[in-house]
Symmetry: D2
């Protein structure tokens, strides 16, 4: 039609190739939203598990996400630097993620936000998130990015834990607690928690202290198949077959340590596909993204719903206990 020229006003900006794409989303007005829905203070494991479940669903929907990191009302999704998703159109990538996350958050609310009797809390406001795309040219910058978020998590969580302990266990008013913490350093808060309340901050649940780190792992899955063994012999037999399924793992590891990065070195340091030009680049990207094969075999595994405060660090990490998103 004669109106079609308006299409020319759209900008189809593509993100710089060969660069890490981070999509960070953050709940809008979650201070109010969390209060309205009675989130536990300072941390509500149900709410965090719901965030994690929504993020896991995003990874399964967009397998070019190589890792994700979440804390409080925010989640950061890191895409393979070679991704060709939506031809690297930043607004399509970012909007699809934030939309998919939002829908999943609402859809899975009833499973996660249950009260002591197992009844879902009513959803009385509309949870929604803003989103942004940020580019990081080097792995070093990317690691510093996630470190930045994890340090943010630590600082906020130590503060919030001390603050709410003072209020809920110490009987201070919120104003008094705030005043008490003015000018204190980390070690002061650790000391206060221990000496006045017998709380060893380092024994608080990892999920609260470290946030959540999502990544992929191949997990052997044994399935039972029935059928003929060969064309020659049509007699059906029952066999067990073991396959490697790409699965999202919810971890709470320390991203400032080398361990995580060493373990996943293949994901983060694969030599740039661009060295060999775009043909290979496309091939590689397609490999990762071959949705059909890949996601049909995906099992989503997350932490137990209630973070276990007394468990050892090791046992808190990387458990594949429950399937959270039964999609």
């Amino acid at each position: 039609s004669r109106f079609q020229y308006v299409r020319g006003f759209e900008s189809e900006a593509r993100l710089l190739p060969n660069t890490w794409i981070v999509v960070r989303i953050d709940g809008r007005g979650f201070h109010k939203f969390s209060a309205k829905h009675g989130f536990k203070k300072p941390n509500d494991a149900r709410a965090i598990n719901l965030m994690n479940a929504a993020a896991v669903a995003c990874m399964n929907e967009f397998p070019d996400i190589v890792m994700a990191y979440g804390e409080s009302d925010e989640y950061s999704f890191v895409f393979d630097k070679r991704t060709q998703l939506f031809s690297r159109r930043g607004d399509k990538i970012m909007s699809s993620i934030v939309s998919f996350f939002s829908s999943t958050y609402v859809m899975q609310w009833p499973q996660h936000m249950v009260d002591a009797e197992g009844q879902p809390e009513p959803l009385v406001a509309t949870p929604h998130f803003d989103g942004r795309c940020v580019l990081y040219p080097t792995l070093e910058n990317l690691r510093d990015y996630v470190a930045w978020r994890q340090v943010d998590c630590h600082i906020n969580n130590l503060y919030n834990t001390t603050f709410w302990t003072l209020v809920l266990k110490g009987g201070l008013t919120e104003y008094e607690a705030e005043q008490r913490l003015v000018g204190t350093f980390s070690k002061d808060k650790n000391e206060l928690l221990f000496s006045e309340f017998g709380i060893n901050y380092n024994e608080e649940p990892l999920m609260f202290r470290k946030g959540s780190v999502l990544h992929w792992r191949r997990i052997p899955v044994t399935v039972t198949k029935e059928g003929p063994t060969s064309k020659a012999d049509p007699t059906p037999v029952v066999r067990t077959v073991t396959r490697q399924k790409l699965t999202v793992i919810v971890d709470h590891c320390d991203l400032l340590q080398e361990e995580f990065w060493t373990e996943h070195a293949d994901v983060f340091t694969s030599s740039s596909v661009y060295a060999n030009g775009p043909r290979e680049a496309k091939g590689a990207a397609k490999g990762r993204g071959r949705k059909a094969k890949h996601s049909s075999e995906t099992t989503t595994i997350v932490e137990p719903k209630e973070a276990a405060p007394a468990a050892s660090e090791a046992s808190q990490r990387k458990r594949t206990a429950e399937q959270a998103c039964g999609e």
Copy 2:
């Protein structure tokens, strides 16, 4: 922390001032999504009403949206050209809209997507939308934009109506119907519908033919108040007070005609606030955006759930029958 420098990699691009901002969202893979959920063909009034309800909720949440236009799985939101929402940061505006829309779509699914017995259809996939921001410098360009979408609606709807009539009433296979329509013009399809099936296309529901146009209207609302009439006389009396509430109207008018634009000339042609510099600009924007006052008085009114095919054009438009989003 020493990681904070990564913040500097974010770009805070702001959209050109004094320009119409259009956020268009479009369902991702709704071909499959609509099939999976048994959307009626070619139009499912329930699904359209759900889209409309989500869009109405967006307008109430972001009152700087001056109008919205929806058809099929897409919605376009037009912001006041003077809006200062998120300091005109395009990604925050766009992501917040697409996120709010998605969440509302899922939240209101059960009310809208009900079967003949009034039972909600199960939601078995995750509806999500991509989003984009487009700028239009003049009202003429903006009008051409919405005209472009409405013409798109018309062309698709005429095609789909004819196609599905051939299949569902004419007994053709989908392939045969497609072949039958190759090379036909609008008048051929109108003729085919009329001569072979007795269908007058112009009597099809307006909502299907024109899509949905959302805009604001002040509606007088009478409330009962109890209290003293003056400081001098403290005796409480019961009074009825009539207030003008800003309300979203769901209309199905023809945007290629002058009528709509004449009627809302004040909204679309208010002389640029920028002529008088930024101070006034901010004031004006704040006026529009004064969320608390404004939205607490907002009544959201949408079309009846089932579009009435036999009603006259006039009666199909601008009805304020039911409150769709009981937020």
Copy 3:
């Protein structure tokens, strides 16, 4: 070659259609450059005429520039809002202008920067300019833009005139002059100039007070042609032919007044070609840009080299005295 993929890292961002494009260039470090080359204080008419000549050359090279405004070491070029120059690629437009301007500035230096004996000053440093593209969606915004620059010119010129009068005629040191002007308003400076030095600021040369406004005008030019009058009669005759040549005029009008805008209303308010879609847009743009025809007939006219301080305002404006760029 296998390296060609690097091409994909370029961004071909196009400027928003139907929007005024302003390219502003500004001399880098002209404080030092002007000192090094002994520019007269506060204004060196030779230097300003050189700037003007370079700007005129730019307009002749890029005829989609509808007007230009210059003051001090800066020049703003306003493109037809419909221009399709370089497909509206902002960096190509801006870089070509700033490059063409720079080259011309150096090429024409010897003609303009002459001493009292008519000898050119040696060019002992490399003049260069930064450039930027700014978009203005409405004519109102565009007018405010040029008004902003002209007001800037006025404020600086009044200050500089007073400052250098105090120093050069009043015998104050630069420090004393600066102190004397702290906290003064325009009327104070006018008063000071008049009461202490007998200078009526409003009689200073228009070019200094208002800067320079470049625009196009059709000027009748009479040429003598020799040839047969018709195919039938081959006898060659000599005829005089009068043609309208598009010519750049250097003016010093007040852009805050209506006059300029009324006079050139056709240029600035021609109804948007986009209303009728892109085909016409292209046609129109091509019309304007048809380089060959257009520029072969272009005569560049600028002010006399030395701005005449005593002349009446009217006589200072729009003179077509000398041809500055003999290209």
Copy 4:
């Protein structure tokens, strides 16, 4: 003033940190420009030396340029990935380079573009260049970028050399030469040159075959100083002092080989300063950019004016024969 709000329409986009910035400029319409000024075919060493001299001047003016590569009418400038020049505002960086290059090109024209008698060719058109900024996230990508340009140089030069040999020595028309070369590969052209004209392409001047590579080198410079040796003994003595001057070298090396990159590994692989946050980044950048110190000691060295065809490869490279830009 009340017009100042228009400032808000400017976008101050900053280039992604920690990324290689390449500014490439390219002569506009140099096909015509070179013809008009009688450039020798296929290569005019004078014109290439002029391009090189202008590029050398740019490096001295903007010392954050770590290397530059030129061929034909284009030049690419590579900035230190950590540069904070103009706060990484891409348009300021790009426009300043293209402007400085253009001015220098015109200023140095008379020294370089001389005829057999040493008389400068008149400059009868305005040389100008377009410019663009491209970002490359990794060194690998950057190397591929310059390789891309150098391969382009090779392909064009082999073609042009063969084409003009056929025309100038073989007596073919331009059309015949073109036809003759249709469908030929590199080895065919090499063969043709050798068997028909006795030309060994590999003995053509390096500057033509490889283009020009500009980089920095510290060169010991011995200066004679006169003055007292110490405060105690005021007797002035004459001493020779040897200093390391940062100097631009014009080279014609093969950028597809490792040698160049190994030799300058310190420049290209210095561990990212961003790992330690922005403070160090600034320090480092300032170090590089400390204009005063740095450029006062800069000696610009370029190739001899006429590329010596018979000289050995080694002798053609990195000579510091003449000072081209006597700034």
